[in-house]
């Protein structure tokens, strides 16, 4: 067997080309606060946080073939717990953050227990319904969640008060989490998820316990969604039922689709596209939702594989 030299792992399995590209992207991203206004830095922070959420959805949608409409709720549970723990319970932001991720993981594992035996539209509907339950609880359990008014707390640690400092912290977090997710989908376990996507019956006959693998995949994806939710709590210092609402899940899924299902890092591109569009277009017209809708229709017609998916297809055609 011949192994090309450039294929050998430079850092934890990355090719040198991927390493250079990643390095450049991170450096450019790190320089953004020097050229952007503080409002724009806020938007960039939001892009990173929702990019992580969209990526966590892509683990299931792009690799296990299960699109979840419950990840907004998992994300929001973490936000609620972080805000509650630091505001009402008086814990430190870091302890609150850990609790938030833990709670999101627990909720994800409950979702997973119920949803792993379904696929296709049933999986979609079941995760949607589970997310709605979480939303209902957050809306009605007024003594704890503040009901419709939500809760406010100074979650962000003092060291990260400035827009730029917080942006850099989120960027560092996003890089670490993205790397972990990238390792996860490429790992031997990640391969089993792709196998389940392609043929469940074959996986079973090969000796795989398919529901168990989906359960683990869903739970791990929930951890990452929880991290995004915890960061969002620090970003916003505020949480309300709209954070756990269906719209949040849908937005995450749309970001993933816009970037490209199964591309993983496309999630950041999709998040950037949607957040920038939302904020720019809404400053010009009240009908910004219509513009967003038309944009989606156009993406689906001209690049159904998503922005990154399309770019990859174009570049690989050129190489050939």
């Amino acid at each position: 067997m011949t192994q090309p030299v450039s294929k050998t792992s430079v850092l934890a399995g990355m090719t040198s080309r991927a390493l250079v590209i990643t390095g450049l992207v991170v450096i450019v991203a790190a320089c953004l606060p020097m050229v952007l206004s503080s409002y724009q830095v806020g938007l960039a922070t939001e892009v990173l946080i929702f990019g992580v959420l969209a990526m966590s959805i892509d683990i299931l949608a792009g690799f296990a073939g299960r699109t979840s409409l419950g990840h907004g709720a998992i994300f929001g549970v973490s936000t609620y717990v972080v805000v509650y723990a630091t505001g009402q319970a008086g814990l430190s932001p870091w302890a609150g953050f850990a609790l938030g991720v833990l709670a999101a993981t627990a909720v994800a594992s409950i979702f997973a227990l119920l949803a792993v035996r379904t696929s296709g539209v049933y999986f979609l509907l079941l995760t949607l319904a589970l997310g709605m339950i979480v939303w209902g609880v957050c809306l009605r359990w007024t003594q704890v969640t503040g009901g419709e008014n939500g809760m406010r707390a100074d979650v962000r640690p003092a060291a990260l008060m400035s827009h730029s400092a917080f942006y850099w912290a989120v960027l560092a977090g996003a890089v670490i989490v993205s790397f972990a997710m990238w390792r996860f989908v490429r790992s031997p376990f990640g391969l089993t998820l792709r196998g389940i996507r392609d043929s469940e019956s074959r996986m079973r006959s090969l000796g795989y316990n398919v529901p168990l693998h989906l359960f683990i995949g869903f739970t791990v994806s929930g951890i990452f969604a929880g991290i995004a939710g915890g960061l969002y709590a620090m970003f916003n210092n505020f949480v309300s039922p709209s954070t756990v609402a269906l719209a949040q899940s849908v937005e995450g899924v749309l970001m993933m689709i816009a970037g490209g299902v199964g591309t993983l890092f496309g999630a950041f591109v999709g998040a950037a596209a949607i957040i920038v569009l939302e904020n720019i277009v809404s400053s010009y017209t009240e009908r910004w939702l219509m513009v967003l809708g038309i944009t989606f229709v156009l993406i689906m017609i001209f690049a159904p594989e998503g922005i990154i998916g399309k770019l990859r297809a174009i570049t690989s055609r050129k190489v050939r």
Binding site: F189, G195, M203, R204, L206
Partner: protein, 251 residues
């Protein structure tokens, strides 16, 4: 002779009122090459599903290698050494041949739960995958995406996947279905050169192909065992000719 590897006792698989397999008893000695033949709808594939666990038997017992597997789910049976191919090609179409083999190999290993581990195969995996691909004669196709392979190659990959787990018993469900004559002889060659220690049960419509490969033949008809004989006898058996060709009519 040692204990038979597979014993079926009065196995029934019923779908509501329809008894697709209706009281089949079967004894397969270790290392035998066995063909199951019979016209369409005789219950051959359903019997395979009962043995492999996709449709556990409604009634009756299945013993494999000293274990009662009648109620075990498919993955537990795979762990005991039952491996199968599918009549309708059932592969991972968007993955490479190499990834298909890796999934096949790791099905029974704890490595499948390595959440953040390296995706590359280790040395022993490389050796075993190469051996199985060689046995199925598709060694040079390891980096191809499965959906880009020809149908014949996909059938070969089916066998390679079933082989890489080093099974004790291999169930081949119409391995040559839909292939051209030259591809058929290639598949026959692959089956003939399998390790003699592996027990092979084969469903095949092509009598010439099947009878040239096996030591013993079970002919099924309407869910029951009609005849069990060595291949030479089957060719001349009146009952077998009747179920395949219809009863001779006397004027």
């Amino acid at each position: 002779m040692s204990e038979p590897i597979l014993t079926l006792t009065d196995v029934v698989v019923a779908f509501d009122a329809l008894r697709a397999v209706d009281g089949v008893s079967l004894i397969v000695p270790r290392g035998q090459r066995r063909a199951i033949i019979g016209p369409n709808g005789a219950g051959k594939t359903t019997l395979f599903n009962a043995i492999a666990g996709a449709h556990p038997p409604t009634l009756g017992k299945i013993r494999f290698n000293g274990h009662d597997v009648s109620r075990l789910p498919p993955h537990r049976r795979a762990q005991l050494g039952i491996s199968r191919t599918f009549q309708i090609t059932n592969l991972f179409p968007t993955l490479s041949v190499q990834d298909n083999m890796m999934l096949a190999l790791r099905g029974l290993k704890p490595k499948k739960f390595s959440l953040f581990g390296s995706p590359d195969p280790d040395d022993s995996e490389v050796t075993r995958i190469a051996a199985a691909l060689n046995a199925a004669r598709i060694a040079e196709r390891a980096d191809i995406i499965v959906k880009e392979m020809s149908y014949g190659e996909q059938r070969q990959l089916e066998i390679a996947i079933a082989l890489v787990t080093t099974p004790t018993m291999l169930l081949l469900d119409e391995p040559a279905a839909g292939l051209s004559p030259s591809e058929r002889s290639m598949i026959a060659e692959v089956i003939r050169s399998l390790d003699p220690a592996i027990t092979v049960i084969l469903i095949e419509h092509d009598m010439d192909l099947a009878l040239g490969l096996v030591d013993y033949v079970t002919c099924m008809f309407e869910g029951r065992v009609l005849v069990e004989e060595p291949p030479e006898g089957i060719r001349r058996n009146k009952q077998v000719q009747e179920v395949y060709l219809g009863k001779p009519r006397h004027a």
